[in-house]
Amino acid sequence: MQLMNASFERTTIGNIRLHVLPSEQFKTYAVSVYIGTPLSEQTVTPVALAPFVLRRGTASLPETKQFRERLDDLYGAGFGFDIYKRGDYQIVQFRMDIVEDRYVQEERTLLAQALSFIGEAITNPLLEDGAFSAKYVEAEKNTVQKKLEAIVNDKASYAAERCIQEMCKNEPYRLHPLGQIESLEAITPKSLYESYRNWLQNSPIDLYVVGNTTLAEVEGIVRSQFRGAGGQASGYLMETKQPTVEQIKTVVEKLEVNQGKLNMGLRTKATYAGDDYAAALMYNGVLGGYPHSKLFINVREKESLAYYASSRLDGHKGILTIQSGIEIANYEKAVDIIRKQLSAMEEGEITDTEMTQTKAMIANQLRQIQDSAYETIAFDFNSVLSGRQRSVQGLIDDVQRIGTSDIRRIADQVKLDTIYFLRDLKGE
């Protein structure tokens, strides 16, 4: 199928980079605002807390109920945010989506109303004496604390988190994107507001819009609706250096669980910005990205050891993770089988079928991005983050060219760093 040659139109307004993709494919407008800052122990917690306070009320909609009613009145416009890590950056992503006017017989104003809403939510919060509302800060500190405490509830994501924490002990990447419980207490409405101002002024801001509009229309709205935070549009500098692995760390943790969680963290030099990214995608795909991959076939289908066994590549950080849920007694057997798959990758034991299937799966996944406004935005933002321009079709072409020797080259530099096992309280 011929790919639609969709491309973003771009401009810069103050410290905001604007990216607009005119499209009639969707029934909605999708808006994303990315604000990124380097991960650091000092700032990670206030940066994470600020969006929680921002969602409580603005200068013109000070009560949370009014704030939310406004969204409901806009045909239940979606508004939310996510906080995550991309490389050693902490990214806050605000999202808003709203139906296109023609489906609800409105005049053409909904996009302007949505941008005005999200602009005010981010840049014009409710203030009391030059600080955030004390009531909101106090309530949201509690919310963030409860969220951090709740990480342990979902054992699969807890184990994944712990594995990274152990592996990246001496890197900013060890930090959880929601921050640290012990830093919450000292935060005051005043200190949080100062940290927020600083964050807004000094961080790269990327505003994306996908929908039935134009760059000129969006630019006009943004100029009038976003209170400029001053400053210049700055860029991202992805650190791609990796510490060398001296010896494999093994960490066993005991909790009251029925199923054991086996996670592994591996280092790779291949990152999104580098020329080896397509080869790393293939490495991950053959190893554990799909149900036809080595991990699924060998750990689950051949040995019935697990319900899930897969691998994932974090291209900005250059880390590959393996995750599996197993019967506790099968720990050694599972580690053994997984390590055998890693050796097979090093030996280049990869069939032509595995190559074609993996290429087809990766191409399919990449093409599907274009059917979702938010995924299209996220893909483009990867270029902003890494400084490496990539198009969906370009990446598909790169993947098609990969041979087993390229994968072996990746396998040679993939190093197992940490084995983490979450098990029950019984046993030695």
Partner: protein
């Protein structure tokens, strides 16, 4: 081929009932690269006791529909995932209370993947050995859910509400129940529920409707199916009252999870009326408990709920209940406050303004859902099995009156029908 045009949302569905009884639906999406296809059977975890016209009555072990779903992926030639992978198609399946759905999404070789989907689901291959092997994998899946507090609190609530209806059975069954499963039982369930008359195909995305329907028609014409009588699903009578007003599950959690809901008495009504009832109920739940509501804001300010607090409504021919709740520091206090606040709402009734706002939200939500081929397929098939048209929802919301919602409000919140499910840390056992 029938053409069903939905003018208000600018979508068209093409439908054909094939000679063997299979329903085929296609919704072409202009501009989409992806095609999403489902092959569904009206057969889920609740169908554990049945009788086909002219045959013996059968009772099967818990979890067998889900077990069957797992086993369908195995073919004499090996695992079917590999075939999908060679077309670059991503395949999967899931089992719910009343459906089993096989699906794939692809951006290339769509027709080949569609053939693969039809063929593997219509080609059961069970051996004593492969059935035994699957018990290990599903055993791990069951163990995984055992550790999952959200799943446990949800199922705990259903178990608290229902004493006889099989909705109370965990979809995957238990390690004990699946140990009884044999290949003979799987074949029996397969031949009963995977008959074309009990199934439907839904394809949505960048496809040509004519081409898809033609492909399915030819594929099906080449296969023969014995005619099958009607399937009678047997359910033990379920008492109107809740089974157990409060169920507590011990699991290590950072703070308790508290889900509660109201069970409604069995009310057999026809499909369209059921859909209207569901829409009115969902609107009512939204007005009462959404993050915009006064109740949510009050409870949040009192630190009794966190932002994972939510409310949902399940409305089917066999069971109807609400699910409300989330994490809380104090389940008892939360329930006490909810009771006061809901009683206030019952006294005042729902006002015009809240009703309009929530109605707009539902209309917007429906339109946003139409961006997602996966959601369209799920919703459309789901309601077709119930005998209704999901796209009618938009009209239903537009024509709904405030009175209907207020009537539902007073019907639903009957404190004698309340059930509660709490997941609490064993160390903080109260």
């Amino acid at each position: 081929m029938n053409v069903i045009r939905y003018e208000h949302v600018n979508e068209t569905v093409y439908h054909e009932k094939l000679d063997n009884g299979l329903d085929v639906y296609v919704l072409p999406k202009k501009g989409f690269h992806k095609t999403f296809a489902t092959f569904s059977t009206k057969y889920g975890s609740i169908d554990n006791h049945f009788q086909v016209e002219g045959k013996q009555e059968v009772q099967v072990p818990d979890g067998i529909a889900h077990f069957l779903e797992h086993k369908m992926f195995e073919e004499p030639t090996g695992d079917i995932f590999a075939t999908f992978a060679s077309y670059g198609a991503s395949a999967n399946a899931f089992t719910s209370f009343d459906r089993t759905v096989y699906l794939f999404s692809a951006t290339d070789h769509v027709m080949e993947s569609l053939e693969t989907l039809l063929n593997f689901v219509q080609n059961p291959y069970f051996t004593d050995e492969n059935v035994e092997k699957e018990k290990g994998i599903i055993g791990q899946e069951i163990n995984m859910y055992k550790d999952h507090p959200d799943w446990r609190s949800y199922f705990g609530l259903i178990e608290a509400m229902y004493s006889a209806h099989p909705v109370r059975i965990d979809i995957a069954g238990t390690i004990e129940s699946i140990s009884q499963i044999t290949k003979e039982m799987l074949y029996e369930c397969y031949h009963t529920f995977y008959h074309p008359t009990n199934m439907s195909v839904f394809v949505v995305g960048g496809v040509d409707a004519e081409e898809v329907i033609d492909r399915v028609r030819r594929n099906q014409a080449a296969k023969t199916f014995e005619p099958q009588g009607e399937i009678k699903r047997i359910f033990q009578p379920e008492p109107d009252s809740v089974h157990n007003p409060q169920k507590v599950t011990k699991l290590p959690v950072s703070q308790p999870k508290c889900l509660f809901g109201f069970k409604e008495a069995h009310d057999p009504i026809e499909a369209r009326a059921l859909l209207e009832k569901e829409c009115a109920s969902k609107l009512m739940m939204d007005i009462l408990f959404s993050p915009t509501s006064a109740i949510y804001q009050t409870l949040y300010d009192e630190k009794l709920i966190s932002d994972n607090f939510g409310a949902d409504f399940n409305c089917t021919p066999g069971y109807t209940f609400s699910v409300i709740g989330g994490d809380t520091r104090d389940p008892e206090l939360l329930l006490e406050r909810v009771k006061q606040l809901v009683n206030d709402a019952l006294e005042r009734g729902i006002g015009e303004k809240d009703f309009e706002r929530s109605r707009n939200k539902k209309i917007g939500g429906f339109l946003r859902m139409l961006n997602s081929p996966e959601s369209i397929a799920r919703l459309y098939t789901d309601y077709r099995f119930k005998g209704a048209d999901a796209f009618d929802m938009l009209t239903i919301y537009r024509n709904m009156s405030l009175e209907e919602v207020n009537t539902r409000l007073h019907e639903h919140f009957n404190w004698e029908q309340l059930a509660v499910s709490i997941v609490a840390d064993p160390k903080e056992a109260s």
